[in-house]
Symmetry: C2
Subunit: 153 residues, 2 copies
C-alpha cells in the first residue's frame, strides 16, 4: 500500500514532465535545424518529412499520417514544393495520384534534423546511469501509440 502511494505520487506530475520533455526536444531540434541554415521551416514540417523520407508518399497518405484533410496536406505540399524541399512526380501505377518525394535539399534537411536531435539528446542520454536509456526507450514504447506523432492540441 505504501508502494501504491508512491506510484501514485510519482504519477502525479508525470504528465507535465512528459510534455515538458517533448517540448524541450522539439525546441532543440528546431533550433538545431535553423542553425544549420533551414530557417524557412517550422517543427510542423518535420512531421511531414518523417512520412515523405524513404519512398515518398501521396497527398492522401500524407494527410492520413498528419491526421489532417487532403486539402490541407495538399496545401502544405505546395509550400514545401515552392521552398524546394519536395517534388511532385507522376505516380508509377496510378495516373490520378502524384508521388511526393524529397529533393536533395529535403534529404539534406532531414539529415540536419537527425543531427540536431542527436545533439539535443546526447548530453542528456550520457548523463543517465548505464542502461537507463534502453529502459527509458522500452517504457516509452509501451505508452506510445504507434504512428501517432503529431500533437493535435
Amino acid at each position: 500500500m505504501c508502494q501504491t502511494l508512491s506510484v501514485r505520487d510519482d504519477l502525479q506530475d508525470l504528465p507535465v514532465l512528459l510534455l515538458s520533455a517533448a517540448r524541450a526536444l522539439v525546441d532543440g531540434i528546431d533550433t538545431g535545424v535553423r542553425a544549420r541554415g533551414f530557417t524557412d521551416l517550422r517543427p510542423a514540417h518535420g512531421f511531414a518529412f518523417v512520412r515523405l523520407s524513404g519512398t515518398g508518399a501521396t497527398v492522401g497518405e500524407l494527410a492520413e499520417h498528419l491526421e489532417i484533410t487532403k486539402q490541407a496536406a495538399s496545401q502544405m505540399a505546395d509550400e514545401l514544393v515552392n521552398k524546394g524541399y519536395v517534388e511532385r512526380r507522376p505516380h508509377p501505377s496510378d495516373a490520378r495520384a502524384r508521388l511526393l518525394v524529397l529533393t536533395a535539399k529535403g534529404v539534406a534537411c532531414t539529415r540536419a534534423a537527425d543531427a540536431a536531435a542527436e545533439e539535443t539528446l546526447r548530453p542528456w542520454a550520457e548523463a543517465l546511469p548505464a542502461g537507463q536509456l534502453a529502459a527509458l526507450r522500452a517504457a516509452l514504447l509501451r505508452l506510445a501509440t504507434p504512428g501517432r506523432i503529431r500533437p493535435t492540441w
Copy 2:
C-alpha cells in the same frame, strides 16, 4: 566505443518515441475528460487550467505561461468565462488587472483531468519493473525545460 554505438542507436528513434508517448497521454486525458462530461473543452484549455488552478492568474500571466499574446489569452479567458469554468474578479492589489479564477465547475474539471491522467498512466506505470517509474521521472526531469509545457508546433 561499442557502448557509444549502442547509445547512438537508442537515441535514433527516441524523438519519435517521446512525441508519440506525449501524444498518447494527451489523447488519453482528453478522452477521459470528455467521458466525465466536459465535452466543450480541448486539450489546449488544459494548459490554461494548469496555470489558473490554485491562486489564479492575471491575463498577462496566463499569456506568459501559454507563450501567446495577451490578446489571445484574453480571448481564451472570455471563452472559458462564457462556458462557466472561469471567473474574472477584481485584482486585490491592482485596479488595472483582473484575477482569473476557476469556478467550482473549473475545479471539478481539473479533478476530472487528474483522474483521467491517472487512469491513462496507472496501468502503464504498473507494468514497469520496480523502481523504473522513479528513474523515468528523474530522466524526464533532466530533459524538461521547467514551465514550458505547451507545444507550439
